[in-house]
């Protein structure tokens, strides 16, 4: 009973951090809580949010995906290339693009699962190689000139709610559903917690890894498409460094990097915290060098606090 309370409190703690930040930023600049700004903020983090679903699964397995940023870039380029240089139908381009990103994820899965490489190395290799490929395809130049229709994913609205925010919300819902209601979710926790035991319980761990990396690739691809639509221009470096932003969202959200523990709701909070920080600090007119420091310190404090809690509880 007591342990349940402690756990719930822990899961809630990250929301308290979020509330605290919101209060601070609101005091500094009341515009922060303007509904308009909140929607802007949500739209700004939508790409992180979407990509974080797959990253959450990967991290739950105790692995990591450093290729997310490159997949976003690569997808940016090929989707733009399909539509602009090949004049492909928008939907077809999107489907092919998502397919491609999933296949890159499968490649990660292959290296991690079949070859047995540590995820950090495998996905870093993919990151490096596909960055080069994206640059070759684009020749280093941005690709633009999409149809108006394509703008809807990143710039459209349903009522007053921006479409990317809706996509993000749907992704979070889907992620939460997969984790809590399907057997895949149970498997992720089992594999992340004790891979040997999971294997001997009949879980095809290899396939689960393929699946999870493919999912991670897929969501990175989706984030890439939303980004492309949002900025209306495909750049081969668009996703550079995104993986760490996404990892930060996930880890802030309380997902254990050693695998086996974490919740989707925490990741939602983690994502919002990053959004609030990025948005709020600009509203507060904080020097961009100082912003780096704040980001580092917040990450250290949030995760550090969590770790100290855990340590204390363990004794």
């Amino acid at each position: 009973m007591k342990s349940k309370v402690v756990y719930q409190l822990k899961d809630k703690a990250i929301w308290l951090v979020l509330i605290f930040l919101v209060i601070v930023f609101t005091i500094a600049n009341p515009r922060f809580v303007n509904p308009n700004n909140i929607l802007t903020l949500l739209r700004q983090v939508s790409m992180y949010g979407i990509a974080s679903i797959g990253m959450t699964f990967v991290i739950l397995l105790g692995d990591i995906d450093l290729s997310t940023g490159t997949i976003i870039s690569f997808v940016n380029i090929i989707c733009a290339y399909f539509m602009v240089h090949m004049g492909m139908n928008m939907w077809l381009a999107i489907i092919l693009t998502l397919l491609a990103s999933t296949v890159i994820g499968l490649l990660n899965g292959f290296m991690v699962s079949t070859v047995g490489m540590p995820a950090i190395i495998a996905t870093f290799a993919v990151q490096t190689a596909f960055q080069g490929l994206a640059l070759i395809i684009s020749g280093g130049l941005p690709i633009n000139g999409f149809t108006e229709k394509f703008k809807v994913f990143g710039q459209g609205y349903v009522g007053i709610i921006p479409v990317p925010v809706i996509i993000m919300a749907l992704c979070f819902a889907l992620g939460s559903f997969i984790l809590n209601k399907t057997y895949f979710g149970r498997y992720f926790y089992a594999v992340g917690g004790n891979i040997e035991a999971a294997k001997l319980s009949g879980i095809r761990v290899g396939r689960i890894k393929y699946l999870v990396f493919a999912i991670s690739g897929f969501f990175a691809g989706l984030a890439g498409i939303v980004m492309l639509s949002r900025v209306n221009s495909g750049m081969a470096t668009a996703g550079l460094g995104y993986e760490f932003d996404v990892i930060t969202c996930v880890v802030l959200g309380g997902v254990s990097v050693t695998g086996g523990y974490g919740k989707m709701s925490g990741v939602v909070a983690g994502t919002f915290i990053i959004g609030a920080l990025q948005n709020g600090m600009v509203l507060m007119n904080i020097n961009s060098y100082v912003q780096d420091i704040v980001m580092g310190v917040v990450l250290a404090l949030a995760v550090g606090f969590d770790c100290i809690q855990k340590k204390r509880k363990a004794n």
Partner: protein, 317 residues
Amino acid sequence: GKSDDGGSADGDSDKDSGGKEKIGITIQSLKNDYWAGVMGKLEELLKEEGYEYTLVDCSDNAPTQVSQIENFITSGCDLIMVHPSDAEAVEGICGEALDAGIKVMCWDDPMENTTANWILDNTALGRDIGEATAEFINANYTKDAPAKVCTIGYPSTKVLLERETGIKEGLEEFCDDGVFEIVASVEGIEADKALANVETVLQAHPDCTIFAGVGAGAMIGANEALLQKFGGAGKIPENVGVITTDVTMQQLESLKAGDEAVRAIVGFEGSSLDTAKACLEMYKRILSGEDFSGDKNVVRPTRAITVDDVDDIIAGM
């Protein structure tokens, strides 16, 4: 746009509360000595004149820049200056800013949804670098013993890619016939990477003597490599040279020293201060409500800085 009412209404209340106009500035990268230098001066000027401003960089990431402009709109800026990571990417949001009654200025690109553009044609800038290099080559080499040239670029960034292309065009255009040959093209935006790559090029082509690059890092790295190859300042042959753009103190000092490999720097208005002043001038023109609808593209001048006028420039850094 969704931000219309909120944005402009709040903007008014800000002005009522006394201060001068509020300016939001987002540039590609502040982690770069050229930009840090110019922006440092611009900040001084803005402070002096009592402007309220926010200066951020987007780490060369278009979506981040879009977000930053969104935040500027929210925070009620009167003028947004964008130095776009990808001009096309910020067109949409700049349009929203205009809709919200905010003036928008673009640094570098001839953008659509802006009040005015302060433009620099990177291909043209590259061509100027090529021209300056060509002058040096023409003066030192002949058809029988053509110059071996290495270009130092950074093809992952659009503007730098354009610059590098411009350099090659400029060389073709301004060099005498058959007086040069490009033997290598390497990457080098950071000094250490440029240094390593130039060292390697010097191994592959020991007779490579001309290095034309896209920025300060390329110059510093190439200059160091040559200094090491020839055994220090003063020992570098007359016909060896490094020519790039960007105006930073270290480049200028190397140029001024005269006995290093730096031969010319293609600059803009002059010193960082000159550039900052010119930029502020643009702000004032835009904020004063000047009508740019005729031709909103204000082209920045470029010029080659050589040993002769280096002192004037240094004074304004």
